[in-house]
Amino acid sequence: MTKSVEGQQRDPLLSLRGINKSFGAVQVLRDVDFDVRAGEVTALVGDNGAGKSTLIKCVAGIHPFDHGDMVFEGQPVTIHGPKDANALGIEIVYQDLALCDNLDVVHNMFLGREVKSGLTLNETEMEKRAGTTLKSLSVRTLRSLRQNVSSLSGGQRQTVAIARAVLWNSKLVILDEPTAALGVAQTEQVLNLVRRLAENGLGVVLITHNMNDVFQVADSIACLYLGQMAAQVRAKDVNNSQVVELITAGRSGDLGLQPQVAAEAGVA
């Protein structure tokens, strides 16, 4: 197998080695290696059923790995549940966002982790911190922090969900198809925001089907093919058709799985 993970000056923020995961008889992930660097956007691409969601759910602590090693900030770690992942600074923005329409932006950003002074909620502190976080992301699309989420557009909701993930000094933010339901202008806004997260020094994983998104913001591209990591490459070293080939066939020229491996995987 050719794993063309490039030599880098910095150590990866998150490093997965030899990850295997089965659901019953079905092996969903097979010896997957995956690296995420701080300050970079890593696109995780693959066809439906390639194992993208399973991989991030394992990182998030929703499913345990069967075997394999996870290294976070140079330390080997094991994650037993979502709380462990949050404690390490790993946040996931799910596709359905999980916002409460009847609450305002500040309430949603602090949902379940409200700042209190004594018994009461400290609204001023929460509003200040929410404002600071949104400003640090250069978000100016929100008219008021006190408007209900139900009055926001799809892109604004995505923005709130991402800002919520960033609020907690998170180090790694995983975005599950953030642009899937958005129009052109809003997709642009969200991609800019994704870029800005990386510029602020976070590690960003972007799961997407959209090649335009990938080449617009990603520094590194990881292609899953039927549960195996076909290749993780620098975005500037490949072109659109090569990535599509990696997604659909598991290999493209010298890149990707060896022919017989790809064929076997295809049979399996």
């Binding site: 956007v41 709380k83 799910y94 966002l97 999980a98 916002l99 409460c100 329409d101 009847n102 609450l103 309430h107 949902l111 379940g112 982790r113 409200e114 209190k116 018994l119 009461t120 909620l121 001023t124 502190e125 509003e127 200040k128 404002g131 949104l134 400003k135 250069s138 978000v139 100016r140 699309t141 929100l142 008219r143 008021s144 922090l145 209900n148 139900s150 009055s151 926001l152 557009s153 923005t159 806004q189 800019n192 925001l193 870029r195 800005r196 990386a198 510029e199 080449f215 617009q216 913001v217 990603a218 520094d219 975005a235 500037k236």
Partner: protein, 422 residues
Amino acid sequence: MSTTETPPVSQFDLETTPGQGGIGEAAGAYRDRIKGGDLGALPAMFGVVVLVIVFGILEPDTFLTEQNFANLINQGAAIMVLAMGLVFVLLLGEIDLSAGFTAGTGAAILGVTLTEHGWAWPLAVLAALATGVAIGFTIALLVARLGIPSFVVSLAYFLGLQGAMLLIIGEGGTIPIRNDAILTIMNKNMPVVLGWLFALIVIGGFAGTSMWAIQSRRKAGLQTPALSVWAMKVVGLALVVLVFVYLLSQERQRPNAPITIQGVPWVVPLVAVLVVGLSFLLTRTGFGRHVYAVGGNAEAARRAGIGVPNIKTVCFILCSTLAVVAGILIASRDNSVSPTTGGAQTLLYAVGAAVIGGTSLFGGRGKIYDAVTGGLVIAIIANGLPLVTQKSGTQFIINGLVLLLAASVDAISRRRTAATGR
């Protein structure tokens, strides 16, 4: 391919937020909200005005008297308290159909312990409240842990508690309440001076706490509502409270009667304390925020680490306990407890009160004072209708129509909210 320089996400600015523009802008924002389907207390206000005019024209001699105004408050108090409890359950998108008979059961426990066992009244009240807690807890167990729809669970309790009341009271029996402390709540009035003092505390308390909130936001550098808006709200509240206390401070006894009846009924400060306390719980504490979150999107609440079953349990316990408080009020008003206490239209009146006040049957939207404004509407109907028509058939039909009207307004405003994306 990574862009090194990213343009700002959009041209709007976080700082140019509305809210500094005084009364005009506040009125504009209010108009926008109503257009967007968020009617708030508007239907209730509208209802009060229309009903007072209608009943005032039809029955000017009996309806528009100080005596009847005091009556109306006594009739409304129990409905309001019951509705406050229901607000918690309705906020979750659940329902408690048994709340009326929970009130009755609590009253029955109170009556039996007070009158038949001669307990001191604080103990009897505690026993009744504990009954409410137990009822709410078991309902919550079945709804939140076992996953039975609350509609079905509370319907079963509706029947079961009716039976329990018959067993506690004895079939066909009526237990008289003779304890002065319990009877005072609904039958005695505060001295007139105390009534005015109460008015000042309410107005001063509102003006003070809202000003304090504005100041602390200003200190934190956040946008604040204009002072003119604050002043208008304070003046509006002051007017309502002062007129209310003035009307109740008039002599209500017939001319030449030996004793005088005047002053604010004791139940008013009790309801006021409940409104303030429960509103605080719902809007200023983490628990209250989580209630709204569960009602708005239970899955999002769960992923945010909120214990959804626990929140539901506390809400059902609060509902049943407040229902018992309402039951004690009914017992105090009737001077007795019978197997029909809390039965008949009591529950539907309370649900109607909450919904007319602006609490949604679909969950996630509602406030404690909805129960008061809506309760006032229901109380006026319950008070005025018998003056207009003696036929109970007509009364039932009109009550049913009012409830349907309230639910329709709720459903339409919800559709409008969805359509305008609010």
